[in-house]
Assembly symmetry: C2
Homo-oligomer: 222 residues x 2
């Protein structure tokens, strides 16, 4: 039972961090996507982007409820991650609708891959909620078609957006590293959970490969 | 049955407009509230504002589904209202978290009062969906306490926010008037539905009274 595992101070701290970072990530993704939907050139696209934002919000509420059910205060759990996320979003403010779309698709993808990796180290109850909160039901697939269409009508966009994708990955990694250094318990969960440094390396290789696959799907060089 | 009523060209045009303006209003309220939640000084307030935004989105989807069930294209129905709403939001961009809160509370209140008035002129099926889409379950009540607390710590805010409330009402009325002039069918629904000009006048008096009540509740002079 997870409740027993939570008696372990280290495990509790790690799960608090993990759910906190995931919840706050969904909340800020909700806000960013809603903001970016304002840049949409058509009503239909605005509505689809709003739908993506809405899904993030629903997933956020799942995590908040789960935190409460574990007796963990959601706000306290999220607080340490306010600064790194706000840093990430400050540094990756989309300057166009297309940049916003690529960010929604690629940024979300990187985050969710990472959480899926980490979910193997937590108790089944928490893993289940995490996986539900990560299920995007391929809603973001509409992004692929729009980006590909845009590249056809404006071939110069490919270079700019490829650069943008690399920047998103770079900023995400740099914030993740800052968080890993700060949050001992979360890092210990990975290492203590059976990952040695070589395994951590392989995890990052998998994250990068998935990122490249997403960029390719968009028609962009990773 | 509403389907029969919809055979009447005028009624169909009026209901299309009415549901279109309501749906687009909810969609833009969703975006604006999500954007404004970014100004929240604490995580808890950000989360509560996001919750308000989320409710608007859910209500938006109700209206879109109802439009589809009547065989009306939601995007075509919303299109005529993109410009007036964008005008309204351009002219009432909150410069602070408190202004955003007052706008969410007061602006939403004015809109919903108006739609509730109009809902008495449509067929029961549409009325039911409209009333569901207008049900805010007193979620926005948290706003009242925050604004009152803010006025206690900064008494000079009262004058500024009172002015802001009057501006919101003025801009809302001015956009509503522009819409009424443009959209004959919707105006005809009110007038043809039994409202004479005196009754329209009384409706505006009721809207203004409710607005004043909301301002008083916030601790502000209307």
């Amino acid at each position: 039972m997870e409740q027993t595992a939570l008696d372990d101070h280290e495990y509790r701290a790690a799960v608090t961090d993990l759910l906190g970072v995931l919840a706050y990530g969904e909340l800020t993704a909700f806000v960013r996507m809603a903001v970016d939907s304002d840049l949409a050139p058509t009503l239909s696209l605005k509505s689809q982007m709003a739908q993506l934002a809405h899904t993030e919000y629903v997933q956020y509420t799942l995590l908040v409820e789960h935190l409460r059910s574990l007796g963990i205060d959601p706000e306290e759990a999220m607080q340490p991650f306010v600064a790194p996320f706000s840093s990430f979003h400050e540094r990756t403010r989309p300057k166009s609708w297309l940049e916003g779309l690529v960010k929604a698709y690629v940024g979300d993808g990187i985050g969710k891959d990472f959480y899926r990796e980490v979910s193997t180290f937590v108790a089944p109850e928490t893993r289940e909620v995490m996986l539900a909160a990560l299920d995007d039901q391929t809603e973001s697939d509409f992004v692929v078609q729009i980006v590909r269409d845009a590249l056809r009508t404006d071939p110069t966009a490919a270079g700019r957006l490829a650069l943008w994708g690399r920047r998103l990955m770079g900023e995400a990694l740099s914030q993740a590293q800052a968080v890993a250094v700060e949050r001992d318990a979360m890092s210990a969960l990975l290492i203590g959970g059976g990952m040695d440094l070589a395994e951590v390396g392989r995890m990052f290789a998998r994250l990068t490969e998935n990122h490249q696959r997403r960029m390719t799907r968009l028609g962009l060089e990773a």
